[in-house]
Every structure is written in structure tokens, then in C-alpha cells.
């Protein structure tokens, strides 16, 4: 099953409430996905620096001296902001790739959730309400965000199987559905040198989009291609640094509702997720068409 929520703000005065609105939407989707939950939040830029969000099963030990060790290895300043099992490392944008490699050497058990100038991804196993509470999601502010509640079908209930998945700097993907050609596609992507770490079908979808974009496709083109190359059921919601996109497979049996007002564009697996948004009574509400790419950007 799975639930997806997404919120793209047009009205900047709502930005301080983004986390609170998304948290409410996410918790409403608990009965579509009680296994695990996650959220990608596009917050404020950090003055030319980049953010690397990491997750650990043993955060006390892993995070204690990570910033200092990393800073010494890559030779530039690194700051660390811990949030429960996750930490956001802030560093020079040019050092992101070096930092990724160094983090893998220093802490092999650490998982990189996302990197980019504004994106932070938080995800864990557990009820959406509990996941939201442990990261204090409702206090977060930002321009747009995407959330996911997972009911696992294609791979185990683990942190790395939870959504959103990073598809590149400041990009993420959430998925409702199941891909049926993910094993063959995973082998193909590995041959092409694309990193795929889990047995999860959505990660393959994310890696596919990354690969297409590495070859020069825009996100919109990569999404168009996904309609041809991915077999199975999917509703994808993607986030970029300044945008937010939606695509459904041609069969479109997974539910989707969108709402738009002068203040925001919102996505929900069900209308229930949208009912507490301001002005929803007068919003334009519609079901996105199958095999059609929708995109909004600032």
C-alpha cells in the first residue's frame, strides 16, 4: 500500500509551518503505511555550504567525534547537528564527494541519507507518529517537503528500505507501488557503475532517475523515460532544490489526489491527508492523469 504526502509552498509566510502541516498529513496516512516513515525537507540554504545527512544505528558512538575526524581527513571545516539517529554535517560544497568517501571509511555502518544545499532526509522504522516525534518534524520549516509512510512488499522493513530515497544532490524520490523489473534493472545499473545498495525496488527507481540525469536528461525527461523503462505500479513524487514533481504509471491503480491554491500545491495518496490544509474547501482538487508528468518550481 504505502502513503505519500507532499507540500510545495507558494506563500512564503507558511514556511515556518511546513513541518507541522506535513507531519499532520503524514500521520493521517498511517493506516496506509505503519511500518516506517520518512520525510525530505527543503529548508534554508547554508551560505554556499552543503549538507550531508547521515543515519546511524549507534548514534552515540558514531557521531561523538565524527565532525572533527572528518574535518581533519578532508582538510576543511565540518559542523555536525545531531537529530536523534540522524545528523546533518555542514561542509564546503566542493568537499561533498570526498566527505562521502571518507565517511564510508571512518564509519562503515553509517548511511548517507542525502546531500545537497538545502535537502535533509529523515527516515526510520516505526509508526509515522513516533518517527515524526523523534525527529521533531513538526518544528521544521522549509519551502517544500515530501513524506512517505511505508507498508513493505518488495523488501524488508529496515531504515534503508524506508523512503524518501536520494537520487542526487538536493533530489529525492518517494514511491507508492511495486516495480516488477527491479532485479534486471538493478543488474543493468550496476554494470553502468550506478550505486545500488539495497534489495529495495524503489532504490532501483531512484538510481534509474539518477543514471538518466547523469546522462544529461532533465528530471522531467528522466520521469518521462521512467514510464517506458520501469515495469510495475508506481506513483512517484520527486523533490528537487526548487521544485516538486508527480508521475503515475499508465495503469494508475495507486491512488493520488492533488490540491492547489494560491498558497500551495499539495499531494496526498488520499484526500484525507489534505483535509486540514488551509483553504482546502476552495482549492482546486483533482486526480493526476496517468502517464503524465506534473512539475512545479519556484
Amino acid at each position: 500500500m504505502c502513503g505519500i504526502v507532499g507540500l510545495f509552498l507558494k506563500d512564503r509566510t507558511l514556511e515556518p509551518q511546513l513541518g507541522a502541516m506535513l507531519t499532520d498529513m503524514l500521520i493521517t496516512m498511517t493506516d496506509r503505511g505503519p511500518d516506517s516513515a520518512g520525510i525530505a525537507i527543503y529548508g534554508s540554504e547554508a551560505n554556499g555550504k552543503s549538507k550531508l545527512t547521515v543515519q546511524s544505528d549507534d548514534p552515540d558512538a558514531d557521531f561523538a567525534s565524527l565532525a572533527d575526524e572528518l574535518s581533519e581527513q578532508i582538510g576543511s571545516a565540518v559542523s555536525l547537528q545531531r537529530n536523534d539517529t540522524h545528523a546533518v554535517l555542514e561542509l564546503e560544497a566542493a568537499q561533498v564527494e570526498a566527505a562521502r568517501a571518507t565517511v564510508r571509511d571512518l564509519r562503515p555502518g553509517l548511511r548517507v541519507m542525502s546531500d545537497g544545499e538545502v535537502i535533509e532526509i529523515y527516515k526510520e522504522v516505526g509508526l509515522p507518529e513516533d518517527v515524526a516525534a523523534r525527529f521533531d518534524l513538526s518544528k521544521m520549516s522549509g519551502t517544500h517537503g515530501i513524506g512517505h509512510t511505508r507498508m513493505a512488499t518488495e523488501s524488508a522493513v529496515t531504515t534503508e528500505g524506508a523512503h524518501p530515497f536520494s537520487t542526487g544532490a538536493d533530489q529525492c524520490l518517494v514511491h507508492n507501488g511495486s516495480l516488477s523489473n527491479h532485479n534486471s534493472l538493478r543488474r543493468k545499473l550496476k554494470r553502468e557503475g550506478v550505486r545500488v545498495e539495497s534489495m529495495n525496488d524503489t532504490e532501483v527507481g531512484a538510481a534509474y532517475l539518477t543514471w538518466k540525469m547523469q546522462q544529461g536528461a532533465t528530471l522531467g525527461e528522466a520521469l518521462e523515460n521512467s514510464i517506458e523503462d520501469l515495469d510495475g505500479f508506481f506513483n512517484f513524487v520527486v523533490g528537487t532544490k526548487d521544485g516538486f514533481g508527480v508521475v503515475r504509471d499508465p495503469i494508475a491503480c495507486k491512488p493520488a489526489v492533488m490540491a492547489e491554491t494560491d498558497q500551495y500545491v499539495a499531494f496526498g495518496s488520499e484526500y484525507r491527508a489534505l483535509v486540514n490544509l488551509p483553504g482546502i474547501e476552495d482549492a482546486k482538487v483533482w486526480e493526476p492523469e496517468p502517464a503524465t508528468v506534473y512539475f512545479w518550481s519556484h
Binding site: A252, C253, P255, E270, A273, L274, V285, E287, E289, P290
Partner: protein, 227 residues
Amino acid sequence: MQTFDVAENGLRELNQTLQAQSVDTNQTNWEVKNPKGSHAIAVGLDAPIEVTVKGSTGYYCAGMNQQATVRVEGSVGPGVAENMMSGTVVVEGDASQYAGATGHGGLLVIKGNASSRCGISMKGIDIVVQGNIGHMCAFMAQAGNLVVCGDAGDALGDSLYEARLFVRGSVKSLGADCVEKEMRPEHIEILKDLLDRAEIDAKPEDFKRYGSARNLYNFDVDNSAAY
């Protein structure tokens, strides 16, 4: 007029209250407040009561309806009036997937658009859509009438049995074994009656009729390679 607030008293209480109405109840008019996209609003009703839902609903609104008239002043999620036996369901807004699926009887009116699989496996229900419908509508539809005042999506009436399909606008593509058929006077009569009951102002003569070519009813040895 009885008023029921779902936010205050809950969904289960709503359905138990409505289902408890007997055929000769005096409480014939109900207003349901704060549906907020809840699933299974006003399902399993079996009395000639009128229920007005003040807002949009989630999955399976008015499912399995018998005798009752349910009017939704908003849009509905997947499976509205699924397996309806009799009565009337009117949706003022849009309907999501598989509206009226497997319905045996009654009338479903959608004033907006219906999305994919509207009337899938319908078994006698009449469905009138004022707007457009999505892909795979009336798939394996067995009996009843599907009337579309707008356009129809891909694969209309795939593997159709004996349901009648009337479309005023364009049909993106017809499904396997679905063909356009002659509109005879008796079809004009059926359509006129349905449009009148749905309170939709449209001329029956502007519609085209589609139905089963009946080529899939029997095994054809020339198709054996396809199995």
C-alpha cells in the same frame, strides 16, 4: 432533518445509525457533516432514506447501497457505490477509480469527471457521468448502461458482455471486442430516461452507442496461438 457529525460521533456510529433505519422509518432525511475524506461513508444502507454528505469522501462511499438516495456535495474517492443493488447515488464533484464497480442495480450520477475503470464489471447498474471518464471503463461490463456526456479514455468496454455504453464526446480507443453500434429508437428511449433521471440536459441523439461484438464469447481456433 437529522444531522450527524462524523468528526464528533465517528464513522462507525454513523453507519450503524443509518443502517438501523427500517423501511418505514420516519427519519427519512439525513445530513452528514465533516466527512473529511473518510472511507466507507454511508455504506450498506437498506431503507428509502435520503442522505446528503456535506463534503468530500474517501474510498467506498455508499457501497452496497439498497433503496437509499445518497448525495455527496463534494468529490468521492475510489469505489463509490461499489456493488450497489438499488437506489440512487449522486456525486456533485468528481469520482476516483472504479466508480460503480460490480453494481447490480440503481442509478449512479457523477456530475464531474470519473477516472479510470468506471463501471468495471457492472452487472445491471446505470451510471451517468456528466464529464469525462478515464481508461479501462466498463471492462467486462455485463449488464446495465454507462452514459458519458464528455469523452472516454483508452480501452473503453474491453471484453464487454451485454452492457450498453453511450458516449457523446470522443473515445480515445475501444477495448477488445467493443464496437460502435447502431442507435435504434429503443436506445434513444433508454438514454432519454437515464438523462432525465440524472437531471442532465443533453440530447440523446448526440450520443453514440457502443457494445460487444460478441467475438470473445466463444473460443476461436484461429486464436489458439494467443493462449
